[in-house]
Every structure is written in structure tokens, then in C-alpha cells.
């Protein structure tokens, strides 16, 4: 079993080095807990991501809470949460204090300009990795394409897409379809 200290340290590392927001954090959690430590299966991670996306609030926070809960119950969730938010909290306080000094340093702007396109590569690969445990059935392929199109082209809010797809899944499952 993973010790609380190790759990905290993994989340602290993720919290400290993930620039680029929640989705980038989720891609690193996948790397650490599924690929490296083997503590969460592909399918469990996909489910955790799915629920976190359906909940309000930061996705990375919900995802880390679910992983913490799964590995070490409530203490694990608390430890995971602290590891996730402490670096962010500290960084903001430091940056807020010195923002007027660093705002105009070009090198810093360049560094973050460089990170932004890399975040897309990270998230894209996370989507591909997350799709691995899914069987390549017609139902799954249609849902992936439908949910993508409804957001990109029709601007439908993700929460409605998730509710609708959950409903389709329920109907299809009940009719005995193999999903």
C-alpha cells in the first residue's frame, strides 16, 4: 500500500510543476498513477476523469480527491488535496507580490509562450492514452465523434454532452447492446 507521505509527495510534484491548468495536471496524474506506479487501472482512471468532468470546480482537484480516496480513503483524499493546492497557493502569493517587477521581463513571457503549445501536445496524448481501455465498438466511436463535434462546432456546454451521453449509454445498455 502506498504510504500517505509518498502519496503527498507525488501530488506535491504534480502540483508544483504542472503549468497549463487542470487538463495538463490530469495528464501527469495518468503518467504517475497509471503508468509509473500501476496503482490505478486505465479503466478506473477513465471513470475518475469522467466523473470529475461532470462535477463543478477544478477538474484536477476532483481527480486528485478521487485518487486519494481510492488509495487511502479520507486521509488519502486530504493528503492528495493538500499536495495539489499547496504549490499553487505558494506560487501565487510569491508572484502576486512581485508581479509588477516581473510583468515586463520578456524572457519570462517567452518561457510561457513556449509552454502553451506543449500543453496541447500533452492533453492530446492524454486523450489518446485514455482511449486505450475502450473497445473499438461502433457505439464508442460514434459517441467520441458526437461529443467532439457538439462542443467544437455547436458550442454545447460539456455538462449537457456528458448527461446526454450517459443517457444514450443507459438506453443502449438496457437494450442489450454490447458496449
Amino acid at each position: 500500500m502506498l504510504s500517505l507521505k509518498k502519496l503527498f509527495l507525488i501530488f506535491l510534484k504534480i502540483g508544483a510543476f504542472t503549468f497549463g491548468g487542470g487538463y495538463a495536471m490530469v495528464s501527469i496524474m495518468q503518467k504517475e498513477f497509471v503508468e509509473k506506479e500501476g496503482l490505478v487501472t486505465d479503466e478506473e482512471f477513465l471513470d475518475i476523469t469522467a466523473i470529475s468532468q461532470s462535477l463543478p470546480g477544478p477538474i484536477a482537484v476532483s481527480t486528485s480527491l478521487f485518487i486519494g480516496l481510492k488509495l487511502r480513503q479520507k486521509k488519502g483524499a486530504t493528503v492528495a488535496l493538500l499536495g495539489t493546492i499547496l504549490p499553487s497557493l505558494t506560487a501565487i502569493i510569491v508572484i502576486a507580490t512581485f508581479y509588477h517587477l516581473i510583468r515586463d521581463i520578456e524572457q519570462i513571457q517567452y518561457f510561457f509562450n513556449g509552454i502553451r503549445p506543449a500543453i496541447i501536445a500533452l492533453i492530446l496524448l492524454a486523450a489518446i492514452k485514455l482511449s486505450k481501455p475502450l473497445p473499438r465498438t461502433l457505439f464508442n466511436i460514434i459517441i467520441v465523434i458526437l461529443s467532439f463535434i457538439s462542443i467544437v462546432f455547436f458550442n454545447i456546454h460539456p455538462i449537457f454532452v456528458i448527461i446526454a451521453c450517459g443517457f444514450f449509454g443507459f438506453i443502449f445498455h438496457r437494450k442489450g447492446g454490447s458496449v
Binding site: F17, F139, V144
Partner: protein
Amino acid sequence: MSYIRLMIAFIKIGAFSFGGGYAMLPVIEEEVVHINQWLTESEFIDIIAISQMSPGPIAINSATFVGYTHLGLPGAVLATLSVIAVPFLLVLFISQFLNKYRDSNFIKGVFSGIRPAVIGLIAAACISLVDTSITDIYSGVIFLVILLTLIKFKLHPIGAIFISGFLGMVLYAI
């Protein structure tokens, strides 16, 4: 600005902003700029810049920033805890519920639909970032280099973040 108002505003942000990341910005803007007027529009745009310089979720970043600039360290901690209060309770509640009904046909069916949808949602999140992130030839090059390096050499994402930052410093300085 009282602690109570700060707490209520960020509990609301945590409870009503779906979709994560930049999708949360309109809800944060409404509370922080329009309803409570803690920040002006241009200060709010600074938050986005500051969040990009800080690790962690953007909602946490903006909570800490607003709390800190208005009520110091206690404000920073209070706003941060407020924004995660509702998600925290929801996760505890939902995981208990799921442990109980994991094997029911209803839950199985619903998840069989949600799982593939998540893949579509994440792919869509990539597209929405392209506009603001891949803006010129340099950012295009960085995107391709990092993508190929991640696939070919199984580079750790944290390594990828730092390499891309240094590529940015080198390329844009030329």
C-alpha cells in the same frame, strides 16, 4: 471586503463552474469583477497572465490571488478552501454512492456512455486551446517537437513542460 463575502463568492464559483480550466473564467469574472468589484477588467486579465505563470488549476490560482491581494494570507487560504469546498463534498458523496451501486445496470449503462464522451471532450479542449496557443510558426514548431518527443522518447510531461519553456526562450529571443 469581509471574509464572509469572499467565502460566499468562492464557494459559488466552486459550485457553479463546470468544465474546468478556462471554462470557469466567465463564472469567476462575474463574481469577482461584476458582482463584488474586487478587481477591474484589466486586473482580471492580469489574473490570467499570473495563472499561466503558476502551477495548478486556474480557479485555485485566481481564488488565491483575489484573497491575497484583498485580505492577505488569511484571505488567500480562505478563498482557496472555499473554491474547493463543494467539489470536496461532492467527491466524498459520489464515491460512496458509486461504491454502493457500482454493479447496478443503471451505473454500468451510464458510464458506458460517459467514457467515450470524455475522450471527445478532452480532444475538444485541445482545439479550443489552439487559437490562443499556436499563434505563429515558433509555437507550431514547439508543438510538433514536443508531441514527437513525447511519443518517441516517452518523455515525462514535467520534462516536456520545461523543455518547451526553454525552446520558447530561445526561439522568441532570436
